[in-house]
Amino acid sequence: MRTTYREAMRAAMREAMQRDERVFLMGEDVGRYGGGFAVSLGLLEEFGPRRIRDTPLSEAAFVGAGIGAALGGMRPIVEVMTVNFSLLALDQIVNNAATLLHMSGGQFNVPLVIRMTTGGGRQLAAQHSHSLEGWLAHIPGLRILAPATLEDARGMLWTALEDPDPVLIFEHGSLYNVEGDLADDAGAVDIDRAVVRRAGADLSLITYGGTLSTALDAAEALAADGIDAEVLDLRSLRPLDDAAIRATVAKTHRAVVVDEGWRSGSLSAEVSARITESAFFDLDAPVGRVCSLEVPIPYARHLEEAALPSVARVAEAAREAVGAGA
C-alpha cells in the first residue's frame, strides 16, 4: 500500500484507539484543527471529543495530566506539538514520569506515550528547530524512540502503548511527507533493537530518525568511490541497543555517528564513548561524529543548511575514518 509517514502515524493512532478503550489522544489542536502537522486529521470525527481532546496552551498541565491519567489506568497519547515546547513540560517528564515507579518502590508505573515533532530543516529558526531527543535520552526511567521509516511510524506506537513505562516518540518534521510502500498488514514492531538499513563492510554510519536518509544518501555517494558503508538505525535512543552497535563496529572497525543534535553532549558523544569503551582495540580509527554546528538554528536557508548535518559532511567524515590508520 502506498502511504506517507504522516498517514502511517495516523493509522497507528487509529488502530490503537480501536483496539483499546483506554487509549485517548490529547494535545494542542489535535482535534478541530487536525493536528499542527495534520497527523491526527480526521480522528476527532471518528472518535469524538471525549477521546480526541484539544487542550489549552498548557504544556506542563496536559503532560502532567497524561501522567496522572496513566496512573489512573488509562493509556494516554499526549501530543506535544513540537519538542521546542516540551521545555515547558520537562518538570513533569523528568521529576514525575521518570521517577514515580522507582520512588514509589515499584508501586506506580506510568504507561504514558508522548509524541513530539522534532528537528530542523524547515527554516523555522532558533526556537522551532531543536533536536532534543538525544538530550532527553539522558534521563533514566524514560524510553526514547525515533521512528525513521514508514514501518516504524506505523508500528512503534502500539508497542509503546503496551510498555508499562513512559515512552517518548520523536517524529522528525521532515519525515511526515515521505511517501513509500507499506505492507497492508503492517503492525506493531519491536522497540528494543537497532536495525541495519544498509549492509556494508568498510565503516559503520550510526544514526536515527531525521538523519537516516542523510546517512543512506552518504552511503550511496561513498559507494561511488568504492567505500562500502553500513548504516545502522538506532530506533531506540534509550535504551541503546549496545549489541547491535558492537556488532556493526566489530564488522567494520570504523564508525561515524550522525545526529542532528548539537555536537557537545549529543547522543553521538554517548555512542562514541560506548564504542571506545567496548571496542577500543578493534577500532582502526577514532569514532567520528557529524552533528549540528553549535549555533541556534538560523532562519536563512543557506545558514540553516550549513548548520545541520549534510550528506557531504557525513561522506567527508566517513572518508576521513576510512583514511585514518589505514
Binding site: 485517548f24 471525549r50 477521546r51 487542550t55 489549552p56 498548557s58 506542563a60 498541565a61 496536559f62 503532560v63 502532567g64 495530566a65 497524561g66 501522567i67 496522572g68 491519567a69 496513566a70 496512573l71 489512573g72 489506568g73 488509562m74 494516554p76 518538570d91 513533569q92 521529576n95 514525575n96 514515580l100 515507579l101 522507582h102 520512588m103 514509589s104 518502590g105 515499584g106 508501586q107 506506580f108 508505573n109 533514566p140 526511567g141 524510553r143 510498555d163 508499562p164 513505562d165 519491536d190 528494543d192 534509550r238 535504551p239
Partner: protein
C-alpha cells in the same frame, strides 16, 4: 465555627468527633517523634512536619472514600497516615528500610501507597496538581464517581503549574478537590510577598471554580466544608477549591532558623491549636473526659512506639535491588 456551632456539630456525631481528635493526635505524635528521631540521625534528608496543621488532613480525609485518590506534598506524613498508610510503613520509609512503603527509596518527602490510592509525596511545589488533574480525568473518562483530593501549600499558587491545572480542571469539569493549605508562609516568604491577590479563594474563583475559605484550625469546620465540597464534586459539579487557613507551628524544615516571623505570632496561633480546640470542645460537651483523653494518648503512643520498633528492626534493601524499578519488570526492558 463558634463554640455553639461546634457543640452542635459534636452532638450530631459524637463518636466521629472523638475519632477526629484521635486522628489528629496520631499525626501529632508521629511527627513529634520524627523530629526527635531526626536529631538522633535515625531519619535524614529533608523533614517537613505538619504540626499545627493536622485539622486540615484530618478533616478532609474523613470525607473521602476508599476509591478516592489523594495527591500531597513533601509535608505529607499526616496525609499518608490518615489516608490509611500504616505508621509502621511510614516510619520504616523514613528510616530508609526495605519495609518502608517505598522500600526506602522515597523517604519523608515521597510516601506512596497503591492500596490506599495515595499518590505521594511530591517534592516539587505544585508538581502534584497536574497529576491530580490527570487522575480525575481518568475517572471521568472511565465514568467512575471518584474524587481526587489534591493538597498543596499557598506558595504553590504562584507557580504556573497551579494556573494551568486549575484551568484544565475547570474547563473539563474534572472531579478534583483542590485543598490549599494556607499556612501563610512558603519557607520564609509570607503570602503578601508572594501573591498580588492574597484572598486565595477569590483567586481560585477566577477560574470559575466554586471556592471558599475555611478555618483550618477547626477540624469540624474543615470536615463540614470538605464534605460539602466533595459532594459537590461527586455530584458532577466539577472541581472545587478550599482555602484552609492554618499555621505551621514548627520550622519549615529541620534547617530553618525562622528569621522571617516572630515568636509572638507563632504563640498566638498556638492558642488555636486544633487538637486543643477540639479537645476542649469535647470536654465542654461532656463527650470525653481527661481519663478518656489519656487513654487515647496511650493508644496513640503505643502505635507510634510500635512503628518505631518496626522501623528499627527493619532491613536494608539489598544494593543489588538498586536498579530495580527504574523501568517495570518486563521482557526486553532496559535502563
Amino acid at each position: 465555627m463558634n463554640d455553639e456551632e461546634r457543640a452542635r456539630a459534636i452532638e450530631a456525631q459524637p463518636e466521629r468527633a472523638v475519632d477526629l481528635l484521635r486522628q489528629m493526635m496520631r499525626v501529632r505524635r508521629l511527627e513529634e517523634r520524627c523530629v526527635e528521631l531526626y536529631s538522633a540521625t535515625k531519619i535524614r534528608g529533608f523533614l517537613h512536619v505538619y504540626i499545627g496543621e493536622e485539622a486540615v488532613a484530618a478533616g478532609v480525609m474523613s470525607v473521602l472514600g476508599p476509591d478516592d485518590a489523594v495527591v500531597a506534598t513533601y509535608r505529607e506524613h499526616g496525609h499518608a497516615l490518615l489516608r490509611g498508610v500504616s505508621a509502621r510503613a511510614i516510619m520504616a520509609e523514613m528510616f530508609g528500610r526495605a519495609e518502608g512503603c517505598c522500600r526506602g527509596r522515597g523517604g519523608s518527602m515521597h510516601l506512596f501507597d497503591a492500596a490506599s490510592r495515595f499518590y505521594g509525596g511530591n517534592a516539587i511545589v505544585a508538581g502534584g496538581l497536574p497529576l491530580a488533574v490527570g487522575l480525575a480525568l481518568a475517572d471521568k473518562l472511565a465514568g467512575r464517581e471518584r474524587v481526587t483530593a489534591c493538597f498543596f501549600g499557598e506558595g504553590a499558587i504562584a507557580e504556573g503549574e497551579f494556573h494551568e491545572s486549575m484551568n484544565l480542571a475547570a474547563l473539563w469539569d474534572l472531579p478534583v478537590l483542590f485543598c490549599c493549605e494556607n499556612n501563610l508562609y512558603a519557607m520564609g516568604t509570607a503570602l503578601e510577598r508572594s501573591e498580588s491577590q492574597v484572598d486565595l479563594a477569590l483567586k481560585a474563583a477566577s477560574y470559575e471554580i466554586p471556592s471558599w475559605a475555611v478555618d483550618g484550625m477547626d477540624v469540624l469546620a474543615v470536615e463540614e466544608a470538605a464534605r460539602r465540597a466533595a459532594s459537590g464534586v461527586r455530584a458532577g459539579g466539577g472541581p472545587h477549591f478550599l482555602e484552609l487557613r492554618t499555621y505551621r507551628f514548627r520550622a519549615h524544615s529541620m534547617f530553618d532558623p525562622e528569621r522571617y516571623r516572630d515568636k509572638a505570632e507563632v504563640e498566638q496561633w498556638m492558642e488555636r491549636d486544633p487538637i486543643r480546640l477540639l479537645g476542649e470542645a469535647l470536654e465542654a460537651s461532656g463527650r470525653i473526659d481527661a481519663e478518656q483523653r489519656a487513654r487515647i494518648a496511650d493508644e496513640v503512643e503505643a502505635e507510634i512506639d510500635d512503628a518505631i520498633a518496626f522501623a528499627e528492626a527493619g532491613t536494608l534493601e539489598p544494593i543489588s535491588e538498586l536498579t530495580r524499578f527504574v523501568t517495570s519488570e518486563r521482557a526486553g526492558a532496559g535502563a
